[in-house]
Amino acid sequence: MLALDVKNLTKAYGGNTVLAGVDISQAAGEVLCVLGPNGAGKTTLILTLLGLVKADSGDIRLFGNQQQGITRSQALRQQLGVMMQIGSLSANLSVYEQCDLFSSYYAQGYSAAELVQLAGLESHATQRFGRLSGGQKQRLLFALALAGKPKLLFLDEPTLGMDVEARQALWHQVKQLRQQGVAVVLTTHYLEEAEQLADSIAVLHQGRMVAKGSPDELKALMQYKVVRCRSRLTDAELAVLPAVLQVSREQQQITLHSRNAEQTVRALLHADQQATDLEVRPIALEQAFLHLTQTPETQQEQAA
C-alpha cells in the first residue's frame, strides 16, 4: 500500500492557479523532495495534502484512506509527523516542556528526554522557546514531528535558517528514517538538499509538477547550459548544432539550450566565425526539467 497517493490535485485562489493537477505516489521508505523556487506552491501543496487547505478537485489517500479535510482517525494521526514553517510554539515554555507535552499525544512515541536528544538540544532543555535561535527552533520542530515515530513524515523547508552542521545532522536523521521505512515528503529550495536525500525529486513550478526524476537525472541536468549569442545562422542551422535542445530568438539575440555547452560553442564558432556577444550560463532548473520530460532525445539518452 502506498503511504501517499495523490491524483490530479488542483487548487486555485480566486482564479490564480496554485496547484494544477499534481500527482504523487510514494511508498514506504521513500523520500520525495518537492523542489521549487519560493512561491512555486510547495507550502500550499503540503497544506492541501494535510487537509488544511481544501483542494478544488483531486484525490488524496494516506495509507489508502481517502482524506477529507483535517478529519482523520486517531490511528492515522498516530502515524503522521508534520513539520511546518511556523513562527513559534508557546514562547514561554521550555524545550523540555514542549517535548513533554507533544510526546504525551502519542501512544508509542519518544519520551520527552528522547525528543530533546533528537533535537540535539540537551544543553538547552530548560531554555524557553522564545530564546532559541532560528536553527534551534527548527531542530525542536523537527524533533516534535518525530514525536510519534511516524510512518509518513511531512517536512516543509526543514533546514531553513539552519547552519551547515545542523543541516547535515538533519540530513543524516532523514536518511536514517528512510532506512527505517518512513515515507518522507520534504519541500526545499536547496538543490543540494534534494540531491542528498531524495529517491525522487519533483519540481514544482507555478503549481505544476513540471517533472519528476532521480537525483542522478538531476545531476545530468545540471550540466545543461544556456548559450546566448548574435549570429547570422538561421534557426534551422542552429538546431542541428551538436547537443542543442532548443533554439529561440529575439530579433538578433539568439538563445540556445545545450546539453553540452563546449561542443555547441565549438561548432557554433566553426559555422559562424563572426558570432558575437557569446555568453554561457547554467540553465534554470525548471527549464532543465522541462527538457527531461519533453524531448524524446534526452529520454532515450537516459534510458541508455
Partner: protein
C-alpha cells in the same frame, strides 16, 4: 497514550505559560481589584461595598476569560502552533478545557482577592453560605465569557484580538451595570442591558445578597444558559471552519 495525562499536561502547560507572562497576570488581577478598592471601598457610601463586590467581581472574572482565550488562541493560530496540535492526535477538548481551566484559576484568584478586601476593608458581612454561593456563581459565570473569547480567538488575527476584546469587554461591562449600578443608567440602556450575559450573571450574583432588580432567577438562568449554548455552537462552527495556514 494516556488520555488523562494529555488533559493534565495541556492544562498545566497552558497555566504555566500564562503565569510566565507577568504582562498578562498583573493587569488581569490588578484591574478589577483596583477598581473595586477605589469605587467600592474608598468611596463607599452605605451598602455599595457589597453591591460592587458582586458587579466588580463579574467584571474581574470576565477579563481573563475573554483575554486568555481570545489572545492566546489567535496567537497560537497565527504562529501555527494550533495547526500542529490539530494535526497531532491531541484531542481538541483537551486544548479548550486547558484554556478554560486557566480562566478558572484566574477567576478563583480574583474571587479570593476581592472577597478578602471586601471583608477586611469594605466592611462587607455575608453569611458563609452567601460567600460560597457567590463564589460558585462567579466561577460558573466564567464560561460564557470564555466562549466569547474563544470565538474571537478563532476568528480574529493575533493583532486584532486584543483591541476587539477590549471593544467588547469594556462597553459590555458598562452597559450591564458592572461599573455603575444598572438603575443609574438611562432607561433605554437599562433595557438594552438584557442582551448581555454579564447583566444576567451580575443579577444572579446580586440575588445571592438580595440586591438584584427583582426579576425572576429562572429568567436570568434561562437567558444565561441559552446564550452560552448559542455561543458554544458558534465556537464549534468557527473551529470546524478554520482553514489555511492559520488554521
Amino acid at each position: 497514550m494516556n488520555t488523562a495525562a494529555i488533559y493534565r499536561k495541556e492544562a498545566w502547560y497552558d497555566l504555566l505559560s500564562i503565569l510566565r507572562t507577568p504582562a498578562f497576570v498583573i493587569p488581569s488581577l490588578a484591574f478589577p481589584v483596583v477598581f473595586y478598592v477605589f469605587f467600592g471601598v474608598l468611596f463607599n457610601s452605605g451598602g455599595a461595598s457589597a453591591y460592587m463586590l458582586v458587579t466588580y467581581g463579574c467584571f474581574g472574572i470576565m477579563g481573563p476569560a475573554m483575554f486568555n482565550f481570545a489572545i492566546n488562541i489567535a496567537s497560537d493560530r497565527a504562529h501555527g502552533w494550533l495547526t500542529l496540535k490539530r494535526l497531532s492526535p491531541m484531542p481538541v477538548p483537551a486544548y479548550l478545557l486547558a484554556k478554560f481551566a486557566t480562566a478558572l484559576v484566574f477567576s478563583l484568584a480574583i474571587i479570593v482577592l476581592m472577597f478578602s478586601i471586601a471583608a477586611l476593608f469594605g466592611g462587607v458581612r455575608f453569611a458563609f453560605g452567601q460567600w460560597l454561593l457567590l463564589a460558585v456563581v462567579l466561577l460558573l459565570g466564567t464560561l460564557p465569557f470564555a466562549l466569547i473569547g474563544l470565538i474571537l480567538g478563532l476568528t480574529l488575527s493575533d493583532k486584532a484580538a486584543p483591541a476587539v476584546v477590549n471593544l467588547v469587554y469594556l462597553p459590555m461591562a458598562l452597559l450591564s451595570g458592572l461599573w455603575l449600578p444598572i438603575h443609574m443608567l438611562p432607561t433605554l440602556l437599562q433595557q438594552a442591558g438584557w442582551i448581555w450575559p454579564s447583566y444576567h450573571l451580575s443579577q444572579i450574583g446580586l440575588k445571592v445578597i438580595g440586591m438584584d432588580q427583582g426579576h425572576a432567577l429562572s429568567i436570568h438562568l434561562l437567558l444565561l444558559t441559552s446564550s452560552s449554548i448559542l455561543l458554544a455552537m458558534v465556537a464549534v462552527w468557527s473551529f470546524k471552519h478554520l482553514t489555511g495556514e492559520n488554521a
